[in-house]
C-alpha cells in the first residue's frame, strides 16, 4: 500500500465505517471473475478505506460457512468450503451390463473357487484378459486368494463378501448346480442328441459363437 492510499484526503468524504467497507469488499469479490489483490480491491473502494482490515473481518465472518474467503497467492476470492466440494459434483450413475467375458469369468470363479487363471481359461476355452480380472477385482467381487501349491505356485481367485452380498448369497456353495439350472429352464441349449451334428455348433469357437447368439437378445 502506498502512502497515498491511506493518507486522509481532504477533498473526499471520510471513508465509510468498517462494516460498510466489509460489505463493499464482499460485493466486489463476489462479482469478480478473477481473484483480486488487496491493491485491486483498494482501487475500487472509496478513498481512505482499509481493505486489509475489511478482508480480515470478512474472512472471519465466512469462517465455517459454506463459502470461504480464500487467499489465492496474493489475491482473494470466494471459494466453496473444501468439505462441500462433493456438492459441486453431479454424479450421473450409468448402469451398464457386465460384459460377457467378465460375467463368465466371474461365474467360473464363483463355481470353482479357488481357481487359477489357467483353469479359468481352460473352462472358457479362451484367454482371460488382464482387464477382465482387473475389473472384477476393482468391483470388489473377486480377490486374489492363496497361491496354489503346484509348480509355478500360481495365484488363485476367489469371490469376496461383497460378491455374496451383491448377489444375495450366503456362501458360494449356495450357487445352484447344473441340474438345478436345467430344471429351472436356465439352460437355453437343447438337450444333446436332437439330430444336430456335434462339432458343428459350440465347439472351439467360444466367444464368437456365443456372442453371435447373444446379439439377438441383449445389448452389451
Amino acid at each position: 500500500m502506498s502512502q497515498d492510499d491511506t493518507a486522509p484526503d481532504p477533498q473526499h468524504f471520510p471513508p465509510p465505517p468498517l462494516p460498510e467497507q466489509e460489505r463493499m469488499v464482499e460485493a466486489i469479490l463476489f462479482a469478480s471473475a478473477e481473484p483480486m489483490s488487496q491493491r485491486e480491491i483498494a482501487a475500487r473502494l472509496p478513498a481512505g478505506c482499509d481493505p486489509a482490515e475489511a478482508l480480515r473481518a470478512l474472512r472471519a465472518r465466512y469462517e465455517g460457512r459454506g463459502v470461504q474467503l480464500a487467499r489465492v497467492g496474493d489475491a482473494w476470492a470466494f471459494r466453496t468450503a473444501a468439505d462441500l466440494g462433493f456438492l459441486m459434483q453431479e454424479s450421473v450413475v450409468e448402469s451398464r451390463r457386465l460384459s460377457r467375458a467378465a460375467t463368465e469369468t466371474l461365474a467360473i470363479i464363483a463355481y470353482h473357487q479357488p481357481v487359477t487363471r489357467a483353469e479359468i481359461e481352460e473352462i472358457r476355452g479362451v484367454a482371460v484378459s488382464r482387464g477382465t480380472l482387473d475389473q472384477l477385482i476393482e468391483l470388489d467381487w473377486v480377490r486374489i486368494g492363496r497361491r496354489r501349491q503346484t509348480p509355478g505356485r500360481p495365484v488363485t481367485f476367489v469371490v469376496t463378501e461383497a460378491f455374496l452380498d451383491h448377489f444375495g448369497l450366503e456362501s458360494a456353495r449356495d450357487l445352484p448346480g447344473l441340474a438345478e439350472l436345467r430344471a429351472a429352464g436356465l439352460l437355453e441349449s437343447r438337450p444333446p442328441g436332437e439330430g444336430l451334428a456335434p462339432g458343428l455348433f459350440g465347439e472351439a469357437d467360444g466367444e464368437d459363437a456365443g456372442a453371435m447368439a447373444e446379439d439377438l437378445f441383449e445389448d452389451e
Binding site: E34, M88, E90, R96, A102, L106, A107, E188, G202
Partner: protein, 277 residues
C-alpha cells in the same frame, strides 16, 4: 404498398418547371425537387397515438382533463402542416386524422338522440383513456428501466464454479446372468447358437396362402384338418404346427370377413366355410 417510410419525398404532382429550371433535363429537375423537400422527423413518433400524446402535453393539463376537441384541432393542424411540407404521412396517421375530424364534427353538433352506437363523448372518453393508458405504460417502462438492474447495479457471482458431472458406471450383473453364463460354459458341447428350425414348422404366412387358395372351394362347412398340407398329418410335431398355423390363418381370414368359423362344442372339430356373399 410496399414501402411506407414516414418520410418519403413526394414526387411533384404538377410538373410545372420553374422558369430558371428551363433547359434542364427532366431528370435533373426531379433531383432539384427532391433536394428541396424538407425533411421533418415524423419517425420520432411511435404512431398516431404517440403523436396525440405528445400534442396533449402542450395543453399542460392532466391527461384526464385533456380537451379532445382541442387535441383534434392540434392533430389536424399538424397533419396539414406535414402536407404543406410535402411530407408523406403513413396511412395510419391519415386514418387517425379522418377519424378525429369525424369525432370533432360529432362533438360540435348537438347530440342526435336517434343515433346508435357510442356517443361522441364516449368516443372522446375512450381516446382519453387510451392516451392515459399509453402514458401509464410509458412511465412504467421508464420505472422498469430505472430499477437496479442485473449487470449494472446488481451482479451475479463473477466466477461461478462449474458443477462437475461425474459419470459413475454401475456394473450390473444378476445372479441369473451369472448362472446362465456358467450353464452356457458347462454345456458348451451341447450348446449351439439358437436358430429356429423351420423344417417342421408351417408358418402362418404359408398357411394363409394355402387357406386363401382353398377357401374358394369351401362353400360348405369344412373341417379345419382338411386344409392341412399333405404330408403334415402323420408326424405329431408337424401336425401340431400345421394345425396351429392354419387355425391362426382362418382367424385372420375371419377377421377380414372372408370366412366363418364354427365349433359345435369344446374340443369339437373346428369347421370353416367361405362367407356367403
Amino acid at each position: 404498398m410496399t414501402k411506407v417510410p414516414y418520410l418519403t419525398p413526394v414526387p411533384d404532382p404538377a410538373p410545372d418547371p420553374a422558369p430558371h429550371l428551363l433547359g434542364l433535363g427532366p431528370q435533373a429537375v426531379a433531383e432539384r425537387r427532391a433536394e428541396e423537400v424538407l425533411v421533418v422527423d415524423v419517425s420520432g413518433f411511435e404512431g398516431p397515438l404517440d403523436l396525440l400524446l405528445t400534442l396533449s402535453r402542450t395543453q399542460k393539463v392532466d391527461l384526464m382533463q385533456v380537451s379532445v376537441l382541442e387535441l383534434a384541432d392540434q392533430y389536424l393542424a399538424f397533419v396539414d402542416e406535414a402536407r404543406a411540407l410535402r411530407i408523406e404521412l403513413a396511412a395510419d396517421y391519415l386514418v387517425m386524422a379522418a377519424w378525429l375530424a369525424y369525432l370533432k364534427s360529432r362533438l360540435l353538433l348537438p347530440p342526435d338522440p336517434e343515433a346508435e352506437g357510442p356517443s361522441a363523448e364516449e368516443m372522446a372518453a375512450h381516446l382519453a383513456f387510451q392516451l392515459e393508458r399509453l402514458n401509464a405504460m410509458r412511465e412504467a417502462a421508464a420505472r422498469l428501466m430505472a430499477r437496479d438492474r442485473l449487470g449494472q447495479d446488481r451482479f451475479a457471482r463473477g466466477a461461478p464454479e462449474t458443477v462437475a458431472r461425474q459419470r459413475q458406471v454401475a456394473w450390473q450383473a444378476g445372479l441369473i446372468d451369472l448362472m446362465r453364463a456358467y450353464a452356457r460354459l458347462r454345456t458348451r458341447d451341447e450348446f449351439r447358437p439358437y436358430a429356429f428350425d423351420r423344417r417342421d414348422v408351417l408358418t402362418m404366412e404359408q398357411a394363409l396362402d394355402r387357406v386363401r387358395g382353398l377357401i374358394g372351394y369351401a362353400g360348405d362347412w369344412t373341417a379345419l384338418s382338411a386344409f392341412l398340407p399333405e404330408g403334415w398329418e402323420a408326424d405329431p410335431q408337424r401336425r401340431r404346427s400345421a394345425t396351429a398355423a392354419t387355425f391362426a390363418a382362418t382367424l385372420e381370414l375371419a377377421r377380414q370377413g372372408a370366412v366363418e368359423i364354427s365349433q359345435a362344442g369344446t374340443f369339437a372339430p373346428i369347421t370353416i366355410r367361405r362367407r356367403p356373399e
